[in-house]
């Protein structure tokens, strides 16, 4: 009852005309970047983050979250029509979606992708609404050692599932921790790793690193010569996009499978929507009476992964909003956004800022409806975006990145840092170092050091405090297991396979 009351209050926030407009802007932009291969949600959210500093935080969060889940709707369009995933979560949709399109069933493939996304996306929001408040209450008992352990677990999960080489993922995370410790130490006022530059006394701005590593590096990667695909014809008219009754019946289990699995995977830090979509595809194929149809245009092979990658969004927001632990590069940027707007993501967020939390939850219900309406009849219009010449798009991305950083700092030094982090992000891509652990290390570095030092102050320097408390000991043991898992060949083979599919 309390949840329903809070949700109604949330609708009061989300239905304000300005917030409705931001929700629409977010889901529309999300669909656009989902359709465009090569520009992902983390890059877009990072680029737009500085522009939200003057906005009402609830409206800004509604818009950024809209980009996050909207991109997952749009990602299926290129997978189905071009055999090129618009973003990593839609990789598996290519398998059956493109085959359906080749057999002249592009319309039902696009339609079922939108319907599955809507059903599972809504399920994910229901899950978020039901799970987050009790989890937040439970975590009120957490103190510094438990928070430190949780952050270690979050980093361990992301490291485990971010790169085919665990060593490289760990090194990327350590570089993130190093960047996080640049600036003045808050306990002792000692300046660390500032290279004698006044500009670095306040630390390195997260926005600069995120835009550099994601957006600038993305543009640089796209400068390399590559071949484009051939787009299959886009069906026109709503009637041609609607799946048949038999299609819907065939997808009954896929809707449930995608919704439940996607949400559960989302709650785990590090797993992400790509793994959710692959797992749900695997489950769908395993339980199917005709597994041989998979890969040859089975409609369930589109519905299950598309559902899972949308339901995952709701799950991924659970640890972010209740514990302040992001599970991916995109949620790390959302966490940084919340901190920059003056919120304290963690157990008290729902209590202290109910308008933000419940407004966001309500906006996600609305956003999912908007996306269904946008994606069914407007698919042909969105598909036209694929004709946008890259030489017009890249200067636009660079311009928004440069102006975004400059508007936040008014400093040319920050722009030079932006270019430096762009180069770092590009080299990381070329050398197969994953970016997500770096960004997570950067976001969690400061609170992690704070939690560790507070824990050790509580115990007068005894590290045993981390293992003496049952919750932190359990979480740390779980994190250690996560990092030791790759030692088992079979597990590591599965891990590498999952990571390579994502890449």
């Amino acid at each position: 009852m309390e949840i329903l009351h809070s949700l109604l209050d949330g609708f009061g926030v989300a239905l304000q005309p300005i917030n409705l407009a931001w929700c629409f802007v977010g889901v529309f932009l999300g669909t656009v970047i989902g359709v465009l291969p090569g520009l992902g949600p983390p890059a877009t959210i990072a680029m737009l983050l500085p522009l939200t500093f003057h906005m009402n935080p609830a409206g800004a969060m509604i818009m950024l979250a809209g980009i996050y889940y909207g991109a997952k709707y749009g990602g299926s369009t290129t997978s189905i029509l071009l055999n090129v995933p618009g973003e990593s979560a839609s990789v598996v949709t290519c398998l059956d979606g493109y085959q359906m399109a080749r057999k002249g069933r592009a319309g039902p493939a696009l339609g079922i992708a939108a319907i599955a996304s809507f059903i599972a996306g809504t399920f994910g929001v229901v899950g978020l609404m039901l799970v987050a408040p009790p989890l937040a209450k439970m975590s009120l008992a957490f103190s510094s050692p438990e928070y430190f352990a949780l952050m270690v677990l979050g980093l361990a999960m992301v490291v485990l599932l971010s790169g085919s080489s665990l060593v490289k993922a760990l090194l990327a995370m350590l570089v993130g921790l190093w960047i996080a410790t640049m600036g003045t130490d808050l306990f002792s006022a000692t300046s660390r790793f500032t290279f004698g530059r006044m500009e670095l006394l306040g630390g390195v701005d997260f926005v600069v690193v995120a835009i550099g590593v994601f957006a600038i590096a993305e543009v640089m990667s796209n400068m390399e010569p590559r071949e484009g695909g051939t787009m299959l014809p886009v069906p026109r008219g709503l009637r041609n996009l609607l799946p048949t009754w038999q299609d819907m019946k065939d997808c009954r289990f896929a809707f449930v499978n995608g919704s439940v699995l996607g949400f559960l995977i989302g709650v785990l830090p590090g797993a992400g929507s790509t793994i959710a979509s692959f797992l749900s595809y695997g489950v769908e194929k395993a339980v199917s009476r005709h597994p041989e149809r998979f890969g040859n245009g089975a409609i369930e092979g589109v519905a299950a992964p598309e559902g899972a990658n949308n339901s995952e969004t709701g799950g991924a927001l659970v640890p972010l909003l209740t514990l302040g632990i992001p599970g991916s590069g995109t949620t790390a940027i959302l966490l940084a956004a919340l901190i920059l707007w003056g919120f304290k993501p963690g157990p008290m967020l729902i209590e202290d800022s109910p308008q933000l939390f419940w407004g966001l939850v309500a906006s996600m219900y609305i956003g999912n409806v908007m996306l269904l309406v946008l994606n069914l009849p407007l698919v042909p219009a969105f598909a036209q975006l694929l004709k946008l010449p890259p030489y017009a798009m890249y200067p636009l991305i660079l311009g928004v990145s440069i102006v975004g950083v400059y508007s936040d700092s008014s400093s040319v030094f920050a722009l030079v840092l932006l270019a430096v982090f762009g180069l770092l992000g590009y080299l990381m891509r070329k050398l197969d170092y994953p970016a997500a652990p770096l960004v997570l290390g950067l976001v969690l570095g400061k609170p992690m050091e704070l939690a560790l030092r507070q824990s050790l102050m509580m115990s007068q320097g005894d590290l045993g405090i981390l293992t003496a408390r049952p919750i932190s000991a359990t979480i740390l043991a779980f994190a250690a297991i996560m990092l030791l898992l790759p030692l088992f060949r079979r597990v590591n083979r599965w891990r590498v396979q999952a990571v390579e599919q994502e890449a």
């Binding site: 002792s188 790793f193 010569p225 270019a419 050398l431 560790l452 030092r453 050790l456 102050m457």
Partner: protein
């Protein structure tokens, strides 16, 4: 040996090892701990040590690998690096020549040089883009962009 020297893992491992050594050296100059708990050198010292250990693992693993290490296709990288250098020049010169001119030149470079489109199109996109950015951000959103000559 020749193959090893072309390996990205080998060189990146060495660079990260050097970074780890730098972090540990710097951290030793700060207090490790005291009666009030851990000092500013505590956290960097430990992740610096971890960085050295992991980067050396990467280097050794690359050296001992039976398979030839994966090398980077450097010719592909040239275009990307050319673009990066121009971005760097554009941002570094922004205070001097202003946002509009530096952005127009950056766009011209990408359109005309990187994508081999006509200079006319490059100039139209460059000038048009610069005007749109100046109009939207400076005039509509109140974000003051550099005008040039230090202003």
């Amino acid at each position: 040996m020749q193959r090893l020297l072309r390996s990205g893992d080998f060189w990146s491992g060495l660079v990260l090892c050097a970074l780890g050594v730098y972090i540990v050296t710097e951290a030793q100059g700060w207090s490790y701990g005291g009666p009030d708990g851990p000092g500013p050198g505590f956290f960097p010292l430990w992740y610096g040590v971890a960085m050295i250990a992991l980067s050396l693992t990467l280097v050794l693993r690359t050296m001992l690998a039976r398979r030839a290490p994966r090398t980077v296709a450097w010719p592909e990288v040239r275009r990307a690096l050319a673009c990066w250098i121009v971005v760097m020049i554009a941002v570094a010169s922004m205070k001097l020549i202003g946002f509009m001119l530096s952005f127009a030149l950056l766009t011209w470079f990408i359109v005309a040089i990187m994508f081999h489109r006509s200079h006319a199109l490059a100039l139209v996109l460059g000038i048009g883009g610069a005007l749109v950015f100046q109009g939207v951000f400076d005039m509509a959103l109140g974000v003051s962009l550099p005008l040039g000559f230090g202003l």
